[in-house]
């Protein structure tokens, strides 16, 4: 698996992690650490591009859990905004609140895993890069 980082400017700065290859128990820490390093460098809006990730096991899901906690609304992982990163998409309590972690273009097998474990009810998933970038505000 290879991960490259891209910085783009939408309404706000957005950091994109492009993940190329399978994510499993041998390398999920690499994904977590890239996201952590970006966060330490100031990133607060993260888009994980899964266009070139054919496979993800539960280890990858654990990485997404850890990253979501890291990118909580206040950037510290603490405080009242913490729960906003991964809150239910259709929950009226969350309307107007910003999600700081989003996924781009998960491939069919990865998408089915995200669906099975209920992540797609909480984590915004986009198929258009432009729409994903524009969604951060």
């Amino acid at each position: 698996m290879e991960i490259t980082i891209e910085q783009v400017q939408g309404k706000v700065p957005v950091t994109i992690l492009h993940v190329r290859g399978n994510v499993d128990g041998s390398n999920f820490n690499d994904l977590t650490e890239k996201a952590r390093a970006a966060h330490e460098a100031g990133a607060r809006n993260l888009l994980i591009d899964l266009s070139e990730t054919p496979y993800m096991s539960s280890a990858g899901l654990a990485a997404l859990q850890i990253i979501a906690s890291l990118y909580r609304g206040d950037g510290t992982g603490e405080g009242e905004e913490g729960w906003t990163v991964f809150e239910a998409l259709d929950d009226p309590r969350t309307q107007g609140l910003q999600q700081r972690l989003k996924l781009l273009n998960p491939q069919p097998r990865v998408d089915s895993v995200l669906e099975l474990v209920g992540f797609k009810d909480f984590l915004p998933v986009y198929t258009s890069r432009d729409a994903a970038i524009a969604s951060f505000s």
Partner: protein, 148 residues
């Protein structure tokens, strides 16, 4: 146990770096046994999840052995994994609560949950000499229209 069918068997010594080789072996065996892409994926993911539990928890990150067998009985594909790590019973692991945000969930448990979703039967046995054996069964599916 082979009952007229080919039985595929391989031993994987090491740590999580073996996961790619495990998926490759399982994928080739399931295809050879007549599995369609959905069967291949279900078995690859299940074997991966079982093996990563063995390497990371059973053997606590130290090198260890995972043995895998695959064979068919009638229209049912059987995937068996055996390891000799620390005692562990998958029946003790609660499924993830899908109704709460992932950040509020505890880490772990999703692998066994996926395994149970993708396979038709999951059986666990533990024996002091023969180790811990996980036997997973999946009735072979028909090719879907999306399959090439």
């Amino acid at each position: 146990m082979m009952a007229g069918n080919e039985c595929y068997h391989q031993t994987f010594d090491g740590q999580t770096e073996q996961l790619g080789a495990i998926r490759e072996f399982v994928g080739q065996a399931v295809e050879a046994l007549g599995g369609v892409p959905d069967d291949v994926f279900a078995c690859q993911l299940s074997a991966d999840e079982a093996a990563v539990n063995a390497y990371m928890h059973g053997y606590a990150g130290e090198p260890g052995r995972v043995e895998i067998w695959l064979w068919c009985e009638a229209d049912t594909l059987i995937l068996r994994l055996r390891e000799w790590g620390a005692p562990f019973n998958p029946d003790d692991v609660p499924p993830p609560d899908l109704k709460i945000p992932p950040t509020e969930r505890r880490l772990g448990g999703a692998g066994l949950f996926l395994m149970r979703k993708l396979m038709d039967e999951v059986h666990f046995e533990s024996d002091p000499e023969e180790g811990k054996t996980l036997t997973l069964k999946r009735r072979l599916r028909q090719a879907s229209p999306d399959d090439q």
